[in-house]
Amino acid sequence: MASYPQSRRNPVSRRNFLRLAGMAGGGALLASCAPKATPTQKPTEPAVEAAPTEPPPAQEKLSLSFWTPGGSDVFCKGFGTIAEEYEKLTPNIDIGEAQCNPSGENFNEMLMANIAAATPPDTTIIWTSPAAFAARGALEALDDLMAVSKYSQLENWPAGVLASCQYRGKTYGLPATAGTYAIFYNQEMFEAKGIPSDRESFPKTWDEMRRLSKEFVKWDGDVLQSAGYIPWGIPGDTFSSAVEFAFWSAVNGSQLFDAKNLKYTIDSEQNIYTMQYALDWWDEQYKGDLTKVRTSANWGGYSDGEGRPPAFQENKLAMQTNGYWFTTDMYAVEMKFERWDVASVPVGPNGKKTASGYWPNWLVIPKGTKHVTEAFAYLDYMTVDGIKIWYNNIPDLPANKKTDPNLVPKTVVEKRGQELAASINTFFHQQLDVATPMWDSPVQDFFLDQLSRAIEQILGRAASPKDALGEAQKACQAELDKVLSS
């Protein structure tokens, strides 16, 4: 609804942004994204390119369809370019035009429906973990193909990230990208208050960060004019909060899911404390009122459903957690300041060291496709060769170890200079080393729904952290046991 973030409905806020951003972009380009009646049709070039140099189709040409859960025109068009390059290498393969969420609804539901109906795409990107799809028997296992592939051997992937694709000892997807998380902060706001703005001086503990946050909080009646950091994550976007809660839990010495013992630990002492800490923070600095904060401004980093500009770019929010993709995404709207940097996630009272998280673009092959081998070859190509084009359009951290480590987002270079861009880039790469596993559960999507529900209840003061997390724990463990027993 109107003042409710769109991202909750289609749960992925940044991806959602990509869509909105794309809509704002040139209408002509959208043609390349437009859904078509027959997904296996030959790709039609966007009008603006006007390069009809297509060779006549050979008789034995094999068509592969490719879907993505959504995305801007830039994102979608990028896949057209990757496909073109690939077709040059393999003249017998024809990659269909990327279908950017053909239904305009929840992509996972639509994909499952198509798999159930035996009309799946040959290949698709998904934005929630393959493990959960695999547990429902919806994906092809890729291990045999990976073993003999060009780039995708098991050892070429960070083990922690690859775990998100594994279920009962088999691998069901390739985490093409694994953008990590960090705290983005506005150096100019810091300096205006005489606070050192270099990365090393950024708060190392929650208490320090909370004190710092208070410096920036300014209320005008019931309208929050400016804020420091709003815990944990974007107010109202509880799905993102649920995703990010994994590393907030980790920096406070706990976890949400124990993959080894297949036990959820959502309501651990530390996690309850972590939520209680957020509540105290809210009470101290944000009147404890989710609705007031939410209606005051858009705290999300992207233009929201009401067209409000994001507070961070508006110079009104000093710090926020976000992923690697945001280094480029933030420039999609007008920036009211220039200088920003990124820092590690501060450590909680029960924690010992910092942690990060990641949110991949997973490449998978749905069950029921007829051309598994050919589809996989294309995905394999995409993870290392194709990713360069992808990166050029929408920079996201490539996960395969054979990718070029010197890829730096060109927008950041333009805006902040080569040196800083490289430093930021390196920082995000290092964040992967401290990333906590967070997509490994066979009931991941169910769990994220339950956790975001709990967070909503807690911040909306409808339930205590203990009760809400306890309820989520019970539901998720029961669901997990059910899936594992069948």
Partner: protein, 309 residues
Amino acid sequence: MLARNLPWLTMSKLKRREAVAGYVFILPWLISLLVFTLYPIITTLYLSFTNYTVVQPPVWVGLENYQTIFFNDPSIKPSVYNSVYYTLLSVPVGLILSLLLALVLNMRATGIGVYRTLFYLPSLVPPVAATIVFTVLFEARSGLINSFIRSFGLPAPAWFADPNWSKPGLVIMSLWGIGAQTLIFLAGLQDIPKSLLEAAEIDGANGAQKLWYITLPLLSNVILFNLVMNVIGSFQVFTQAVVIGGTTGNPMESTLMFMVHIYRNAFRYFKMGYASALSVLLFVVVMVVTLLIFRSARLWVFAEKDENA
């Protein structure tokens, strides 16, 4: 079965031919009863005892799904609460308002037909479109309704953005479409013999007395009809809730209707077994409530037999 076949054997040729024709005429419906009613009901019941993700075959799990409903699903309580809340509010308010409107439309006035037509117009708007229009009207900061409320210096709720106001918002929205129900009442009102009302008038009954002692009793079977239909409909409200709150019932599960919860389990998690168990539960509840209403109807529905006696 043999006994049933007996009349068949004793039938005349003509009657037999008529019977054959009768079966041919109702054949499509016979198939429909079997394929689209009987088979699905049995299957739903069966599936409710299984784990079924569509892609893999169903696995028998006994009462597990029902256990989950009662002990392990945090969204059950809010979804039941929301559906009951919505039903308890929208059905009586809708009935009373449509009855009042019908009384208004039953007045003798020139051009009354035009008014009746206009009242029906909103019922034409597809629910999705109507809901989208109301999200604009109810927009928290500068929607028409809140601008109106604020013009009196009153605090305006955030409606669909506020968990406490989203359901009242849904109810108000449902009232917009009472035109059809109003026309049914209107038809009922017009069936009331004028002579009866005139007789009462002569007896010195005032308007309220006429309404209470004559109009309402004679309308009670229409009220019963509308009541039952509305209750069945309200328990299954889906489109409006999904357009406003998605499958998670934003904000704060306040628009998570039971039907939405079923849909979410069936098509978001592809837990067909669990969704079937939820369907069975809803089915039982709707049946029980309907029966209770029919039972209670003996007390308040005016039976025409008495009138003739």
